[in-house]
Symmetry: C2
Subunit: 217 residues, 2 copies
DNA sequence: ATGATAACTAACCGGATGGTTACTTATTGG
DNA sequence: CCAATAAGTAACCATCCGGTTAGTTATCAT
């Protein structure tokens, strides 16, 4: 029979220790990057021992990759959110809003991506591109259908438009601290967040909507 | 009298050594970030000695800051490019194009900004924000005048629009390697660069132009 | 020429760091 | 209860790394 895994007094719980190590590793890698993070610091933050890190995760790089993998797995492809019954405009609104909220709610993911971008995916490798590709696929399809149905401009350059849309979402969070300083505002307020999202959606739709299509928002 | 500084055989040239160190430091800091760069590596790449780095620049952090400073100084404020005789649309085109080209021509600057952003300006501090503020001032003014003259939409949120414009330029270069992989294209081709710039300008102007203003591009 | 000095080199230092070994202790099946 | 084993600890190791010391050589005013 399985031992009582749920005992709160269990001082030796492999799973719990692994979780604690992973959480600590994530926090530190997210904050300081791969080179800026010390294994000892992770062990201490996890209230564990350096040894256990090597037992459970092999080495620093593999631990880092594990953190990366878990963060990448959390991203559900935007394609799941597409409701075929909706118009392309509605679909795009849903997908962009979701992407925006996701980035807002997952600063860790954003920062890991930032570190990996600067390292040119030296550690994450292809996984980085795969995640992005999966994310962007939905937008690509929506734009295409929007064009076919005459809702979006027929001369749209779809890949570049996808790039621009993600750039707009991304950049706000990526340079959060810059905007916060320049505007002297607290950007975490949900109100501000909604404003920026609305602004982004507005800009995007002005850019992609067919000139003579529905004038109403 | 001053010694013959220009002699090519001069084996002891303080200035030249400092330049070599700075160049090597820039290359390595840009590529690997502060934490990822070793002083010894800089000394070797500069064909100099670790000692000289400490003589000329104090320590690793000061050397890094010097590299940062020089890169920030190179950025001439966009305001210089504004020709009061031009229309706001022309001015905006000039300024955005210049910004775009600047980012394209200075990947080092871009990457240093990236590292510093992730470190939340821990080393660069206020300088980071100052540079950005100076850059963005011109755009702010142009948008304001464009609104006053009726060329741009009166309901524009100027700060957010500035953010979006810079985001569009920035993001393309910041995630160059991602787009290169996703599109399977060489993004350094001047033709591609022009395409992206044109796409960006198009998107921006569709977003900011007054609805009933000049229909011609 | 030569002494003073600026430019440079190499060997070194102590603490940090990624990774390991030897050992202890809680848990559990029998 | 007890041997087996999984979980955990601490001390250790070799190397790395930022920074320094002591000593060497090119340059130049005199």
């Amino acid at each position: 029979m399985a031992p009582f895994h749920n005992s709160p007094k269990n001082k030796r719980d492999a799973e719990a220790t692994q979780t604690r190590i992973l959480r600590a590793a994530e926090e530190l890698f997210v904050r300081h990057g791969f080179d800026g993070t010390r294994i000892d610091a992770i062990a201490e933050a996890a209230r564990s021992n350096k040894r256990m890190i090597y037992v459970y995760f092999g080495n620093k790089e593999q631990l880092y990759l594990e953190v990366l993998k878990r963060n990448f797995e959390k991203v559900i492809p935007l394609a799941r959110l597409v409701d075929p019954a909706q118009t392309p405009t509605e679909q795009a609104t849903t997908v962009i809003s979701h992407y925006f909220r996701y980035l807002s709610d997952n600063p860790a993911f954003l920062r890991l991506l930032g570190w990996e971008s600067l390292r040119e995916g030296r550690l994450a490798g292809k996984a980085l591109v795969d995640v992005a590709a999966a994310e962007f696929e939905a937008l690509h399809g929506i734009l295409q259908r929007g064009i076919e149905q005459g809702e979006f401009r027929p001369d749209l350059d779809i890949p570049k438009t996808v790039m621009s849309i993600t750039a707009l979402c991304f950049s706000f969070f990526n340079r959060r601290f810059l905007w916060a300083t320049l505007w002297g505002q607290d950007l975490t307020r949900p109100e501000t967040l909604n404003d920026v999202l609305a602004h982004t959606l507005d800009l995007v739709f002005r850019g992609i909507r067919s000139p003579c299509s529905s004038p109403k928002a």
